[in-house]
Symmetry: C2
Subunit: 331 residues, 2 copies
């Protein structure tokens, strides 16, 4: 692993969505590994970009504010990059149903812009794309492996599936060196916690710190798996450094599957207090809910050597601690 | 079948892409069945719209020139329609690779515009969407049924897959009454024959009539199935009239699978003369070729009672005759 991470020392790396949750954690890590990091972020309200996410790193990396759809700017930015990590995008399933056109622009047009820029201006860049478990829709078998049918149940899932397919296509037809990772629930410091539009879990951290009850939809029996953000950052770094991962799509998956009720109880316990209440599923969420989901990531583990290292309790504790300290920057 | 087709008498029907190949054949048929037909066409160069396609029907239906993305116009057009047939769209696989953004606008944004207009202004309309076999990519088994993995190999296939998924989603979440049909090669009068950018077969008709050799790529051993356009029009009418088809996606498929070499030989024989030459696959076509393909349409036959009625030889003869007579309007 040390050898693998050494490959980032002095390397040019470009992170789209680099002021967002996962993007900023990745950018910080890359800077720590000695990479020359450029981040791009459109800072669209409600997408998760937050200047505080790069607090303390302002002098150690280049920050550009702009949109993937600005073709000339993107052409300049991708040139000379050894690594391109694509984290930008609209990620709220709920918002994608309310405004499918905004999701289309962000997750389809934005993806195509990035791939076209690389094809024209930097066809040898190693590209890692972040996709989502949402491409599977409601699981028909568990754990979900990459052979599971693809049947997204919301607009965001449809567009992320198209985004993956672009990456595979540009690899096959144009020779771009792309890998897509299908993320499950990712949590940790720098996630958006203002409300529940992106993920209920972010809002739960806020509610706990504010000493307000967590809302559990329905009976809370739905099982999910979770990855701590440092593990996801590792996965991105491992993927980009694995030449046998080029042209591939892999699941990430957590170390364990827990019910949402269990999760709420664990969080309250770790917090040393708090409460939850069960509320009926809001209709707009029920319509796009996927039921139980947890993934098998064994294909990616075999291909890259990646292992999630942070257990759920440890990750939840670290995240709670982060928001207790930095709430002023996230509410 | 007569009962079924009676349901169109006096019914309001809206056909997008109604000056194109399949759209115009459908619009004419609907007018013959006594429907009140409105067609919309953007007449984008190279998309297949041709005013001559509605020759003789100008007084029997309403023609509107415009774009699906013109929201206020579309809102007015969908109101009061009992049937909405969606035939508009960029259909060239090759062009989708050259300009993925144009394909995105046409096949993703256009689809979303139509569904949003129906959701807001006519949620009870019966909607039939035309998709493509291209959503499957290279078949891993034959004949291809609807359970075959979805792995499109070009940008058009990716966007048509997203388009289908929107229809299924809007059915499930918003209650729209949608059906998608995955078309295979459709041929017949009013198809675009100017060049081979949409389908090689159109161009073959032109070459035969012009007494020029047909070009067969590679060894011509690839097998394909074909539907005569009247059978596809029937399928659209049957789909819209079948309430058990709501929310579903079905394959259409031909009556037989023939190799492209066989097809060229049959066409030359039916034409009473002509020749073909085998040429290497152009690289830009090789990259997105799907090899052998033929579909099982048994699910749709069971659900709707549809049967293709026009055999390949008969259909090819009728089509040749059409272009011998009307070449002035299509070259």
């Amino acid at each position: 692993m040390r050898d693998l991470l050494n490959s980032y020392r002095g390397a040019e790396a470009f992170v789209t969505g680099g002021l967002g949750f996962i993007g900023s954690n990745l950018a910080r890590r890359l800077a720590d590994l000695g990479a020359c990091v450029t981040v791009l972020d459109s800072m669209q309200p409600e997408y998760g970009g937050n200047r505080f996410n790069l607090d303390g790193y302002e002098e150690r990396l280049q920050v550009r504010f702009g949109d993937l759809r600005d073709e000339p700017a993107l052409a300049r930015l991708v040139q000379g990059q050894r690594y391109v990590f694509h984290l930008a995008g609209q990620v709220s399933h709920l918002d994608s149903m309310r405004d499918p056109f905004a999701d289309l622009e962000s997750n389809c047009r934005g993806q195509l812009c990035l791939l076209e820029a690389c094809r024209r201006h930097n066809p040898r860049a190693r590209i890692v794309n972040t996709s989502t478990r949402q491409v599977y829709g409601r699981p028909t078998r568990l754990p979900v492996d990459e052979g599971h049918p693809l049947a997204p149940v919301d607009v965001n899932g449809i567009h992320k599936l198209a985004g993956e397919a672009y990456h595979t296509l540009y690899h096959r037809v144009h020779g771009l060196r792309t890998t897509s990772l299908r993320l499950t629930n990712t949590y940790g410091p720098r996630m958006r916690v203002r409300d529940a539009r992106q993920m209920f879990l972010g809002f739960w951290f806020r509610r706990l710190v504010e000493e307000l009850p967590l809302e559990v939809y329905g009976d809370g029996a739905q099982k999910r798996d979770f990855n701590y953000v440092d593990d996801v950052v590792d996965a991105l770094l491992f993927a980009a450094a694995s030449s046998n991962a080029e042209g591939e799509i892999y699941n990430l998956g957590g170390t364990e599957a827990v019910s949402l009720l269990d999760l709420a109880q664990q969080m309250i316990e770790l917090n040393g207090g708090g409460s939850f209440q069960q509320v009926p599923f809001p209709p707009e969420r029920k319509g796009i809910d996927i039921g139980d989901y947890y993934a098998s990531s064994s294909r990616f583990r075999s291909a890259s050597g990646w292992q999630p290292a942070v257990g759920l309790r440890d990750g939840l504790s670290r995240t709670l601690e982060y928001y207790r300290t930095h709430r002023a920057h996230y509410w």
